[in-house]
Symmetry: D2
Subunit: 339 residues, 4 copies
């Protein structure tokens, strides 16, 4: 953003007005008049407000690169369910049992195993996470694995196991599509199609997933800027996705004691400045079980409207990511305000 | 940590027991027996617990490099005050008006201007932050400035202005010592002596500050690992500091939209695994005013027991960091659970 | 790596022998005997050499996670050509005109436009880069674009234009496959199939590209560790790629004055410790034209055996990345030792 | 930098002219006329050249924050020596035996032990590095140590040992000042006073060192931007330093296999765009001996005019950093073009 001063302006006075609004500024000289450049990490201020400052001639801005994301405020997913007589956990978000994520809405818990290992396992864990307050079942049918020799998931069979288990317990389903080929099969069973962190920049996959027309949970790339993340969401909306939920899962940094760094500033920025629905994944951010509840609470405090958590009832036997999974019984404490 | 297996152990069974406890493991071969290396970003587990697993012959660990920090659990500072009849803000933490920071204690708010500009300014802001719930007045007398041409503080005069203002409003004082020469003068007026982020690795300064015998607020270096931070605290305790409060102020990362990334994982680790008192500085972490309240709440949710916040009642006129200062009237919302 | 000491060993003496070999060590205690952990960033030493040190009982190591990469030493590609009478540029690497990349081989220059814009453009630039010493024509037919509104390449038509131009000038072709669907078409015309930085972790794409059986140029992910990069190469070799050339193109860091940081340490590590063929892409590493020649020379000095350079003869008219493209006439200076 | 267009300009044509010069641009709208913002990581172009483009009304720039650095082109240090009859190694840089560092000058090798351990040790190693082609003896008398329990150097005694050894072998001396108190003693014996990476932001120390009037070797902070580094140099020149040599020693990154990442882009930028004398420290950048020669060559290829290398003839017995020290006999290969 560039602020151009009138030739009769008092630069010190304009400077004071700009700084008072939270803007980091850099005076520029050598042109035909005085300009002031506003730094990218300034607080968000409406340009029209600046145009009304005495001494300001004009304010020039870069057009938004992601107009469709800018227009989005909420994402609704899940299946409408018939009214029931009992007190079901799936009935908190709307009259029809569907789930809406938006800034300020009650936190939605998405939980389940890293990897769907069998029909029995996912049924058992689905029951447990539903009891723990989850409204969405997460789990991997197709698993991205850094090593080509690691177990990569049961694929399409696991999709069916998840859907059945979720339906029995009134849960929606979020699961990852790793390839264009599998995207339609995933979109058929998932209420929310996940694009993983390692694929955030994979534009062919974004197009294929978007083409299925479902809402998408878009994980942030491990070293993606917020602007790149917004642009990946724009790819999805342009190509047909019915909504995008942002999922912050930690960015790569230099300290080996935690696996990633949960960027709560990005959560706050997306939620409170951009007005977007954001969930956090404290499991991948921490990479270690003992920090997961704290990071979950920090993410919600920063502005997230949901959590995506790895939960397993026998972590020692888990086929992947056991050390960072919590027991489903611990879920209940996460959305509350205090430990 | 290395786990050595007995020759008759069932490796798969031991693996399961280790993973079940949140350990990321790497089998090692080629020695005289089977070893398992435990990765640094595993959950914290007592080695003695591992020694009791069937099949485990022994567990070898690296000795802690910071025994004095490990022994610390709380830091108390501020001046004991005579009992009074009124309901004073300074009387919440202990019988005698002193302040104690430890994991789980009620959040302590430290607030004030980036830079102490005049006796009048600091008096006015002290009154405001005290009303906003602060128990500690922060402010810079000596200012580290990236540019040699920027205002670097009023120095020793400002120390006196701060102390007077704090005393009038029942506040303790935290302020930074930037050089060994000034450390004694700072320690004389401050209840808590701050070592800044840019000086965390400055061992000569650490020694000089520690030698004053006061408790120290140690900001994390902008790219320091948690282990390096703990070692800097050990430097302080070895050389005479009466306690160390850790202050997380954001680490450097790749995204220009926020100035730094508040590392809530490090906060949770120090608080909940190491048992240390940690405060967060949401102002420098965000670098932009509109994200400060969210980061403050996220830090507390992660385990911080205090906040260090830049507050100014006329940000446009501030001599430094105006764009990231909040108005003192906004302070009251920060320690509460909800926005 | 863990070194276990004999019960009668002199630990100080063993320590000295280990450090003398470039190992960073950490004594571990509490087990049944003394162990020493060797840090990951130590110099490479053969474990058998350590086993011969007096006082060492055994040395345990983690098995390599990428045995197929470990076995690779050179990659050969391009088409064998009939012997000719003239002095053709394509005849430097082998008798048959094919190109071999391995540590220490004469640097191979791969150059061309970021984006193939027309048959005429690629023909003109192919002629220029061949004159400048290039042996391989690079160019994008399918372009990954951060913005969904940016030009994404002419696709399959551009593949044909490239092949024709390359053949006319005795050049091999390297070009990127961005999706599993397009991989076979790319592999049909390319001598070396590129996997881009944003897709390094895209395992479905790695499998599809590998299945074509061609050698692959694998760009490092923008925040991938060397170990993750090696594992992505292992994915390719396991699934059928006939060879993998590593391409270092800069990693993401905190300084906005250069776009990325060319990791010459990773180049040296892959080349001189792992024995792998590595090329560097100075264009994306620098992101600015004026630093490209210096980074090219630095990469070769570190151990690279080739360069991948963006070159355009009318950068102002380029459809993408014009500001970082150099003019083909500048190519000749890059592989030489001096500016 | 902001380019303002004339009202009758053809924006596409101006855009083409700007991109052709290596500028990354962002059109801005909403003002009284069209502006174009030029991104920070563009190639360096003289604003006056842009002002001559048809359609450009004016070009506004931010004034340089480091005018004294901008004016510096070379740094000369060391003691003038009487003419001699023999062929001495110290006589390559000038008639009088003094050493000048500037872009394009013949590489100057600075080598020696991490830590000066005894008069005998430094004498022995001085002889060896002089034979290996070094012109400057490096070594630590005062050592910054992350752990308070590690050996921190012999202090002032070691300064004398270094000076004596250097004089006997015709070498200049570079050694670090870690505190304001010790700065005068260091400046008395050193020809070039080093400010370490951990102290780059320590403004009190910068002032104290600068006040001694000697030239300074300024290591880059482990996460400092190039702009912050230039500003630290400006601090030194403003306060009296007679010159500043920049030393790139690797920046902190996410990959544990190398200790730091040698930023050859920053070397090229400082040398070829800013015209500054830069040396590289491949020892701390690599952190492992086997990569040191490759990084040394890469740094020189990028534009460095000198090397600062840790060398020890008995690394196993070194009191610090043994694993990254090379043997003095290996020095000779480093400044040459080939391994």
């Amino acid at each position: 953003m560039i602020v151009t001063l009138r030739s009769d302006a008092d630069p010190a006075r304009v400077r004071r007005e700009l700084v008072a609004r939270g803007l980091w500024i850099q005076p520029l000289t050598g042109g035909d008049g005085a300009h002031v450049a506003v730094s990218e990490h300034s607080a968000h201020v409406d340009p029209d407000e600046l145009r009304r400052i005495v001494g300001v001639a004009s304010v020039s801005v870069a057009p938004s690169a992601h107009p469709r994301v800018d227009a989005q405020r909420a994402v609704t997913f899940g299946r409408a369910q018939p009214p029931s007589s009992g007190s079901e956990p799936a009935r908190r978000s709307g009259d029809d049992g569907r789930i809406t994520l938006s800034v300020g809405s009650a936190p939605v818990l998405m939980a389940g195993p890293c990897c769907v290992e069998s029909a029995e396992q996912v049924e058992r864990i689905a029951a447990q996470v539903a009891r723990g307050g989850a409204r969405v079942l997460r789990g991997g049918a197709f698993k991205p694995r850094t090593s080509p020799y690691a177990f990569a998931g049961h694929g399409r069979a696991a999709l069916g196991w998840m859907r059945d288990a979720a339906d029995r317990h009134g849960l929606a389903v979020v699961t990852e599509a790793m390839s264009s080929e599998d995207a339609p099969a995933v979109a058929e069973v998932a209420d929310l199609v996940q694009v993983g962190s390692r694929n955030m920049h994979d534009y062919a996959l974004l197009r294929a997933v978007a083409g299925c027309g479902k809402p998408v949970l878009l994980k942030r790339g491990m070293a993606a800027t917020v602007e790149e993340w917004l642009l990946a969401a724009e790819h999805l909306l342009v190509h047909g996705a019915s909504g995008v939920v942002f999922c912050e899962r930690g960015i790569r940094s230099f300290d080996p004691t935690t696996r990633n760094v949960l960027d709560v500033g990005a959560v706050a920025l997306l939620a409170h400045v951009h007005g977007q629905p954001v969930v956090v994944d404290p499991s991948h951010a921490a990479g270690r079980r003992d920090l997961v509840p704290s990071l979950a609470r920090a993410g919600l405090a920063a502005g997230a409207c949901g959590l995506l958590v790895e939960a397993h009832d026998d972590a020692g036997a888990a086929l992947s990511d056991g050390p960072q999974a919590i027991h489903p019984d611990e879920l209940a404490t996460m959305c509350g305000g205090t430990p």
